[in-house]
């Protein structure tokens, strides 16, 4: 700068003067030339003034040169240009005119007639510094020029560069060691830097974080901030300031990029409610960020250490950045995040995010999500038309749900679980929603309007508000608690509870009906296919349940097929496999009963009277058939009694709600079905029980028919066939270790093909019937 000034003012002839630099500094600092409002005149004002002055002095010929110089200086450095204009302002007209004429001719800019020489160039040094074509050195008195008050006449004691010993003075050494000079020397050029006070510095910093550029923080073509000029803040030097600002710049750029990415992901026309909620939230947060930055700055701004303040702002912005980064991921893959997932994320963030600002943002988002979820649940629980899939997932098949409830088996919806909502609660809510819909469908259409509980009434919003405001600073809102409160306040819970109790009672009656209907083939008479509802009602069967039974006309003697299709929700109990088991029970008992009916016809026939062996074989067949039938019926009855006992025991628990009771009911019935399948040995030998029994029954029927027809030989032959089938049946029974003891008494040995086979269990020992007491 010294050499610049030196050449500018004096050319190369005079040594460089510190005083000139002082003048430059003081002029630019104090801006002495002001208008009547004490507002400093700008460079343009001073240029205008100079132009007027040149015209007044009739120096218009020189205007070109003056303009060139001023333009050059303005391009080079505003401060030097201002300095020159102010110095020229203070120059007297005579000195100005005289020096202008002389020096412009000497520099070859004008001819002797004071006409401008075309294509003349300003005199410049190697650094393109022009030499002034007029002399301002006469007025370079800092005090005079800067109009300093007397008490600030610091130049009374100017810095002396060489001390009395001829060495560089301490003060001068100190100046030479200043950072700014060192940087300038290193870069081999003059540097421009700001020296800011606290308020100015933080204002610019906050502006940067708000995305606005300033003279300190400027934006390049990539829309990234960079440090426009070096800067000092009060006592901070350039390096320290730069170092501190580096991380702020980096963060601000990250923040800006992230915000742009986010805004690019916004979809203003989306109907997705969660997307809309997130977008609205983020817009508010952007607003909130700006306001909060200001609040941080204004808190204790006078007393707080600048480092600490910067750190606070940095941490605050960093927290915001991290949250925005997460939201970018969320918005990019919004379909992968359910409201429950987001709630869990926000809950975890509100508790465990590293930065407090991030935690606060997550906390606010958590609240919004809780409100969203609670409101959605309330809609689903009060209106059958409410959209379900904002919160619930359609699994498609209840087998994909772990331990589904009765209602979920009918409608395989599920709600995610998370750390904020445990499985039991989410299952309860899903059960309530599904069962509410069943309840509504169960009612007539004209009552449907009454069943639109709350969703369109003014109470609805106030109920939600009441729930959300029940939380406070010491009791922050939690999803689980909010949902629990919701379920307590809505009438749906009570309505569904009553409805489910009715279903429970109906279910138990339905089980009674199924068991009675399918294990009493004798009441069906000969014609099973004629399911006459009126006739069965006389036996005490409920009409509604009878109408659920259908007889498949493809059924055969050994395979009676019934369809069981009650109205919802009872159809949850009657899957195809259940209908199959009941059909098998009926088939087998019916076959056995038909066998007994066939035997009855042989009584009192002549052959029967004549042939003791035949009487024996008929009796044996009847006995076997009777025993098998009795055992099956006894076991079914025992299993049913067990089921009822278990139901009575478990349902007597008052702490269970009705949905839990229905689940117990369902499971008990399933166990009962499995037990029946085991009783019928359906899993053994590929379920051939019915086929084997059918063969036995056929033998019985044919033997009886032969007996009636007086054909003892055929009757005996069929009896032998019966024995073979009986041994097959006993083979099957032996595989069922649990129940074999009931059929063991049917075992017979093959010691002789004729009668007189000794029973394995006949006894000649003392027995109770023979003992006398």
């Amino acid at each position: 700068m010294l050499s610049t000034l030196g050449f500018l003012i004096h050319g190369n002839e005079k040594p460089k003067r510190l005083k000139d630099l002082t003048c430059l500094y003081m002029i630019n600092k104090n801006q002495p030339i002001r208008d009547e409002n004490d507002k400093p005149l700008s460079i343009n004002d001073l240029k205008t003034e100079l132009k007027n002055r040149v015209e007044i002095l009739n120096l218009s010929n020189f205007q070109v040169i003056i303009d060139k110089v001023i333009e050059k200086l303005e391009e080079m450095d505003d401060s030097i240009c201002y300095f020159v204009l102010v110095s020229t302002f203070y120059l007297s007209d005579s000195i100005f005119e005289e020096s202008l004429k002389e020096m412009s001719v000497n520099q070859g800019l004008m001819n002797h007639n004071f006409e401008y020489k075309l294509y003349s160039e300003l005199l410049e040094n190697s650094k393109n510094i022009p030499k002034l074509p007029w002399d301002i050195s006469k007025v370079l008195n800092p005090t005079e020029l800067a109009k300093l008050p007397p008490e600030q006449q610091i130049f009374e004691n100017p810095i002396i560069p060489i001390d009395n010993w001829g060495l560089i003075s301490a003060e001068y050494r100190k100046i030479l060691k200043t950072e700014e000079l060192l940087i300038s020397a290193r870069e081999n050029q003059s540097i421009i830097f700001f020296h800011l006070e606290n308020a100015q510095f933080f204002a610019k910093l906050l502006e940067m974080y708000r995305g606005k550029s300033s003279d300190l923080f400027q934006i390049n073509d990539k829309k990234h901030f960079y440090l426009g000029n070096l800067c000092r803040v009060e006592e901070w030097n350039l390096t320290m300031t730069k170092t501190i600002l580096a991380k702020h710049l980096f963060l601000a750029n990250l923040l800006s990029d992230t915000r742009q990415n986010l805004e690019a992901l916004f979809n203003p026309i989306s109907e997705n409610p969660i997307r809309k909620a997130i977008q609205n939230f983020l817009r508010e947060e952007f607003q909130q960020f700006s306001e909060n930055l200001f609040e941080i700055f204004s808190e204790n701004s006078e007393n707080m250490n600048r480092h600490r303040k910067c750190h606070e702002i940095y941490e605050f912005a960093r927290g915001f950045y991290h949250v925005l980064k997460d939201f970018v991921k969320i918005l990019k893959n919004l379909n992968d995040f359910s409201p429950i997932d987001l709630n869990e994320m926000s809950f975890v963030g509100s508790r465990f995010a590293a930065l407090e600002s991030a935690r606060k943002i997550w906390k606010r988002f958590n609240l919004i999500l809780i409100q969203f979820i609670v409101k959605k649940c309330a809609e689903m629980l009060t209106s059958p038309e409410a959209e379900l899939f904002d919160l619930l997932v359609d699994e498609g098949d209840s087998k994909l749900i772990r331990d589904p409830s009765v209602w979920q088996r009918l409608n395989p919806l599920s709600m995610e679980q998370s750390r904020c909502i445990d499985r039991n609660l989410s299952n309860r809510i899903v059960d309530l929603i599904i069962s509410y819909r069943f309840f509504v469908n169960d009612k007539k259409n004209e009552e449907r309007n009454e069943l639109e509980l709350f969703s369109i009434t003014p109470c609805f919003e106030s109920t939600i508000d009441e729930i959300m405001t029940s939380f406070g600073p010491e009791n922050p809102p939690e999803l689980e608690k909010s949902l629990e409160l919701l379920m307590r306040k809505l009438p749906t819970t009570e309505i569904v509870e009553k409805y489910s109790r009715k279903i429970l009672a109906k279910s138990i009656r339905f089980f009674d009906f199924l068991k009675q209907f399918f294990t009493q083939p004798h009441i069906h008479g000969k014609s099973i296919s004629n399911l006459d509802v009126a006739k069965y009602e006389k036996y005490g069967f409920e009409r509604e349940f009878l109408q659920a039974i259908s007889y498949d006309f493809r059924s055969t003697f050994d395979d009676c097929r019934f369809g069981i299709a009650p109205k919802e929700p009872l159809n949850v109990y009657t899957t195809e496999s259940v209908a199959f088991v009941y059909s098998q029970v009926f088939t087998i008992l019916n076959m056995l009963k038909n066998a007994m009916d066939a035997i009855i016809e042989t009584r009192r026939c002549d052959t029967f009277q004549r042939e003791p062996r035949l009487r024996y074989s008929i009796f044996h067949m009847n006995d076997v058939v009777f025993t098998i039938r009795k055992n099956i019926m006894g076991l079914v009855e025992a299993a049913y009694v067990d089921m009822k006992k278990k139901l009575d025991l478990e349902l007597s628990n008052k702490s269970l709600n009705s949905n839990e009771c229905l689940n117990i009911c369902y499971r008990s019935h399933r166990i009962f079905m499995k037990e029946i399948a085991a009783i019928l040995m359906l899993s053994l030998n590929r379920g051939s029980t019915a086929r084997i029994l059918k063969m036995m029954v056929t033998s019985v029927s044919e033997s009886s028919t032969s007996c009636i027809s007086d054909d003892a030989v055929s009757a005996d032959r069929h009896y032998q066939e019966f024995l073979k089938n009986l041994s097959l049946f006993l083979d099957l029974c032996r595989q069922d270790r649990l129940r074999y003891s009931l059929y063991k008494s049917l075992e017979f040995s093959e010691e002789s093909t004729d009668f007189g086979r000794k029973s394995a269990f006949s006894s000649y020992s003392d027995d109770i019937s023979c003992r006398s007491y």
Partner: protein, 408 residues
């Protein structure tokens, strides 16, 4: 009971509903003299119960005089009227499956006329089940019957009991008296005591049909006589209680089963003198009350090996089942049972009665009372004796191993 409706109550089995909605028993009451039925119809309990069109009283009202031949021959004269009543009643049913006949065989209460009716019933209803509740005379001790000719009456009745019914439930008065005396704590049990026991046997044995049992839905399924004519059934009940007294025992399936399988619980007086080779041919044990199905299944297995069977192969003769209980009767005990036991141990009763017959017949004691009845000859008595002897031979043969193959 007649006015209430219960879904498991098959009232139509033994009752029909009159136009005034009260239920009328499908019963035909027959007596050759009016005292008993007349007295019953004047009692407040029964006067409005029966259909008076179903009551037959002989015109002359003299009765049979404890003479089987008299009853039989008088019955011949009036059989058409009686049969008309029975047929009318049968035609009023939707699906007649069986007929229960209650009489005595020793003379005085339907032995003669009852025997005739048995023949006619078998003739008219060849395929229907006929089950009789036949009261045998008390021939023991001081309370022996006052009908001196009861052996003759018995033999003649026995032939018809052997040939016609499907099951005969033997109710031995001696055993009934003994049981009643023991349980009701009286030396002279009254008719009420005895009838309460008989009534309980009859009601329990028919409860399966009356209350919609799936195991034995009708009497046709009762297969208790594999080798006719060995169809004489002993019965026993447990517990035997005086209804007027408090019941202090605890009952269970095991207790009841154990008691019923004791010979002394049978209503046949010679049951205590069971022979070593006596065996059970077929039996039904009906257990009523608060019973778990598991208990019956367990009890069946426990008693399985304790039942003496015939030496030739037979399946398990004893069938235990849960019989429904009337919803209108609240017994003093939780569990009760009835055993209908077709066992060869009934034969000694017939042996002793036959011995008594032989004793009288050898001396031709009182035969003139029979001979003077028109259309009766002593050949009928001899023929009847042969039938009884054949029956006793069957009882002796069935305990032999070669019973099924004999004669082949």
């Amino acid at each position: 009971m007649s006015h209430e409706h219960d879904v498991n109550d098959n009232k139509d089995v033994l009752f029909y509903q009159a136009d005034d909605d009260h239920y009328v028993p499908r019963a035909v009451l027959v007596d050759l003299e009016p005292r008993v039925i007349g007295g019953m119809m004047q009692s407040p309990n029964f006067s409005n119960l029966f259909n008076t069109d179903n009551i037959f009283l002989s015109d002359h009202g003299g009765g049979a005089g404890n003479n089987w031949a008299s009853g039989y021959c008088q019955g011949r004269e009036v059989q058409e009227k009686i049969v008309d009543i029975i047929v009318r009643e049968a035609e009023n049913t939707e699906n007649l499956e069986g007929i229960l006949l209650t009489h005595s065989v020793s003379g005085g209460t339907g032995s003669g006329t009852g025997s005739l009716l048995l023949e006619r019933l078998r003739e008219i209803f060849p395929k229907k089940v006929i089950q009789t509740y036949s009261v045998f005379a008390n021939t023991e001790g001081n309370s022996s019957t006052d009908v001196v000719v009861h052996p003759y009456n018995w033999v003649l009745s026995m032939q018809r009991l052997i040939e016609n019914p499907d099951h005969v439930v033997v109710l031995d008065n001696a055993a009934l008296h003994r049981l009643a005396a023991g349980k009701f704590k009286t030396d002279t049990p009254t008719f009420d005591h005895i009838n309460s026991l008989v009534g309980r046997i009859m009601s329990t044995s028919t409860s399966m049909y009356r209350f919609n049992s799936s195991i034995l839905p009708s009497i046709r399924y009762l297969d208790i006589a594999p080798f006719p004519p060995m169809h004489f059934i002993q019965s026993g009940i447990s517990p035997v209680v005086d209804p007027s007294e408090n019941f202090t025992r605890k009952t269970s399936v095991a207790d009841v089963t154990r008691f019923l399988l004791k010979p002394t619980s049978m209503m046949v007086s010679t049951a205590a003198g069971v022979r070593p080779n006596d065996c059970m041919l077929s039996s039904y044990m009906f257990l009523q009350g608060q019973i778990e199905p598991h208990n019956i299944l367990a009890a069946e297995q426990n008693v399985d090996f304790a039942i003496r069977r015939t030496p030739f192969y037979m399946t398990k003769p004893l069938k235990m089942m849960h019989a429904p209980l009337s919803p209108y009767v609240k017994p003093q005990y939780k569990v009760s049972g009835l055993l209908l036991n077709n066992s060869t141990s009934v034969a000694p009763l017939f042996d002793s009665l036959l011995a008594k017959y032989d004793k009288l017949r050898s001396k031709r004691a009182f035969v003139d009372k029979f001979e003077k009845i028109d259309n009766f000859s002593l050949d009928m008595m001899d023929e009847a004796v042969h039938s009884v002897q054949d029956l006793l031979d069957e009882y002796r043969a069935v305990v032999q191993k070669d019973y099924l193959t004999r004669g082949l």
